[in-house]
């Protein structure tokens, strides 16, 4: 069945709530309003006000409450309206949620999911457009998922809800209305397994979030130039599926990492550093990083588009890889 990414997320929530009455969701405007993007529409009606709850504007309490609920046997799905707001509960996520089990012992289980709407979305400006994965990759103890298709979103959200570890689940705003095939009913996708979104032989592009789509566009473009691009979507950033990337690399010997966040200390920093460290001899050149410019996201839309990589910029980075071969 063709469904949107938004519907897929909603279906995962709905099915998991039907399956397990320990699952409940809360956050700002998730009840009557069904969340500002409509993700939780209908949930209040089906599951009632005990399991679908609005909160006050209190992000630290949302996260803290989720943590306490998880430790005492519920499986909360906490929503932060925008991924940017992970930063107002940063300590609660980084110090508490991530390290709770480590600091208190194995009797403490933290089965919670933090969902948030991430990324640029045309004119949302410097405080409502951020991607945050790289910040939390530095927090041992978290699982970080960034799905890019309806199929992945549904299957991974189900796995996240069933996981006994805390998961940061990043939904991309620009993907909410994109469509894809999603089988009816229950299925899960294992956490920590990358997906080759397009096979290819010349250059490996590891793309995250919205950049998966742009990388696929770039691959299409490049095919016309006779360049075969393999696009890998890690889907989960922690744990990271190194092996799928390494396998690809053994074939292509060229890697470009594409992400939407600022370049400095972004996801690409970690991936490039890790790949060159572990696979140096397989590389025929430096790993390219395609990322947003190191600037807050500007309000002006033309400049917003300029700051965030497009297919053209990814294609350029791929060509630069191959130019080194000559």
């Amino acid at each position: 069945m063709q469904t949107t990414y938004l519907q897929a997320v909603g279906a995962a929530l709905q099915e998991e709530m039907r399956r397990d009455d320990k699952v409940l969701i809360f956050g700002e405007d998730v009840a009557e309003f069904g969340n500002i993007f409509g993700v939780t529409r209908g949930m209040l009606e089906e599951f009632g006000p005990q399991r679908v709850r609005n909160t006050s504007i209190s992000e630290t309490a949302i996260i803290g409450t989720a943590l306490g609920a998880a430790v005492t046997g519920l499986r909360p799905v906490a929503e932060l309206m925008y991924a940017d707001f992970t930063m107002v509960a940063f300590s609660e996520i980084f110090h508490c949620v991530a390290k709770w089990r480590f600091m208190h012992g194995e009797a403490y289980k933290v089965p919670l999911v933090i969902r948030c709407a991430m990324g640029s979305s045309f004119g949302a400006g410097a405080e409502h457009s951020n991607c945050v994965e790289s910040l939390f990759m530095h927090a041992p103890g978290l699982t970080i998922i960034s799905p890019t298709t309806p199929y992945d979103a549904k299957g991974l959200l189900k796995s996240a809800i069933r996981s006994d570890n805390p998961v940061l689940f990043c939904e991309h705003k620009q993907l909410y209305q994109t469509k894809g095939e999603v089988p009816d009913g229950d299925y899960t996708i294992p956490i920590g397994v990358a997906d080759v979104k397009r096979p290819g032989t010349d250059v490996t592009v590891v793309a995250v979030g919205l950049m998966v789509r742009r990388a696929l566009e770039a691959a299409e473009l490049l095919q016309k130039e006779g360049i075969s691009v393999e696009v890998i979507d890690p889907r989960t950033l922690v744990p990271f599926d190194k092996e799928t990337v390494f396998q690809s690399l053994r074939k292509t010997h060229h890697v470009v990492v594409a992400e939407e966040s600022n370049k400095t200390a972004g996801i690409g920093a970690e991936l490039a550093a890790m790949i060159q460290e572990e696979m140096y001899d397989e590389l025929d050149g430096p790993i390219g990083r395609v990322a947003a410019l190191d600037i807050p996201i500007p309000y002006n839309i033309a400049l917003e588009k300029y700051v965030i990589p497009d297919a053209g910029r990814i294609a350029e980075a791929v060509r630069a890889q191959l130019a080194r071969n000559c």
């Binding site: 405007d29 309003f33 609005n54 504007i57 004119g123 400006g125 405080e127 410019l293 500007p298």
Partner: protein, 321 residues
């Protein structure tokens, strides 16, 4: 009548200029001229017009995302406001900050954070500057009923209280935080005033459909602050006429209640009163409206004719030299 005609005309002009700005904003948004997302503040103008009638030179101000037109009261040029709103290089932040950031430093505005609540203590900092300088100025900080539940608001009030900073905290209680009614999200009737005692601060509530009622309540608190009594809280109750953002159909609330509140229009109330008091005639009111509207139309034309910011503009304000 306890107010001078001059004063009343000033308050009215402020009130109206916010209303007309907010209406204009909705209008040009519908025409696709605004790149970002706007939050209409129609119905909430009296909070600003009333409170800011107590200001004097050297005061500082932190406004919010609603009504953004309030920046006009403080003197932000319409050209930079519309420039910013429309994402043009003539905006105060060259069109890079956007709809939430139409401000002017030269008029005492300290800025705004779209991460609601994180900027409340910025007003403490401005008040610290005042306290260090030893003047009797005030730092005004506006925030919403929903925002009142954020932690940084608590921290900012606490610090202002222990340092006895000259801050007026103004809660613009429009009764909603997106779809969440204050009656649900806030466990007290007055999200500002009912929390003031937690910091030992004096507080007042005001009917913010009436700019003069707001002024009176604010004046009492501001006089105290200027006299050195430390921070205070003012609660202004009004109602958000439109959806949270343009496009929000506000199905989460009763249209009949909305209708009731729309009848208590702060602009109409003020106009009726000024006519009754013979301060302004209907014709004069119309003239002021026309004046403000034509100023805005000019500013919009100017903004539209302004260039988009360039790639060079991007890095210009990131760091000071």
């Amino acid at each position: 009548m306890q107010y001078t005609a001059e004063f009343l005309k000033g308050v009215y002009r402020d009130l109206l200029s916010v209303r007309l700005f907010e209406e204009k904003q909705v209008e040009i948004y519908a025409l696709g001229k605004v790149p970002g997302h706007i939050h209409s503040g129609i119905g909430e103008e009296a909070t600003y017009a009333g409170v800011l009638a107590t200001r004097k030179p050297g005061d500082y101000f932190k406004i919010t995302h609603r009504p953004v037109g309030a920046s006009r009261i403080l003197g932000t040029p319409l050209e930079t406001m519309f420039g910013e709103l429309m994402g043009r290089s003539t905006g105060n932040a060259r069109g890079l900050g956007g709809v939430l950031h139409m401000v002017s430093r030269e008029n005492g505005m300290v800025g705004f954070s779209g991460t609601l609540g994180c900027d409340i203590a910025v007003a403490d900092g401005a008040a610290l500057s005042i306290q260090m300088a030893g003047t009797d100025n005030v730092s005004y900080v506006f925030y919403g009923d929903g925002t009142s539940s954020r932690g940084p608001v608590h921290e900012a009030m606490n610090l202002a209280a222990i340092w006895k900073l000259p801050v007026l905290f103004i809660c613009n209680n429009n009764q909603f935080a997106i779809s969440t009614a204050a009656s649900y999200g806030v466990p007290v009737a007055n999200p500002g005033a009912d929390r003031a005692a937690a910091y030992g601060m004096p507080a007042r509530t005001a009917d913010a459909t009436d700019a003069l009622a707001v002024y009176d309540a604010a004046k009492e608190l501001v006089d105290g602050i200027r006299a050195g009594s430390g921070p205070a809280v003012l609660d202004c109750k009004c109602y958000r006429w439109r959806g949270h953002f343009e496009g929000d159909q506000a199905k989460y609330r009763d249209p009949a209640v909305t209708e009731e509140w729309r009848k208590k229009d702060c602009v109409a109330i003020m106009e009726a009163r000024l006519q009754e008091w013979n301060v302004l005639t209907a014709e004069e009111i119309q003239r002021i409206r026309d004046e403000i509207n034509s100023e805005m139309d000019q500013a919009i034309a100017f903004a539209e004719a302004s260039p988009e910011p360039t790639v060079e503009d991007l890095y210009r304000n990131l760091y000071a030299d």
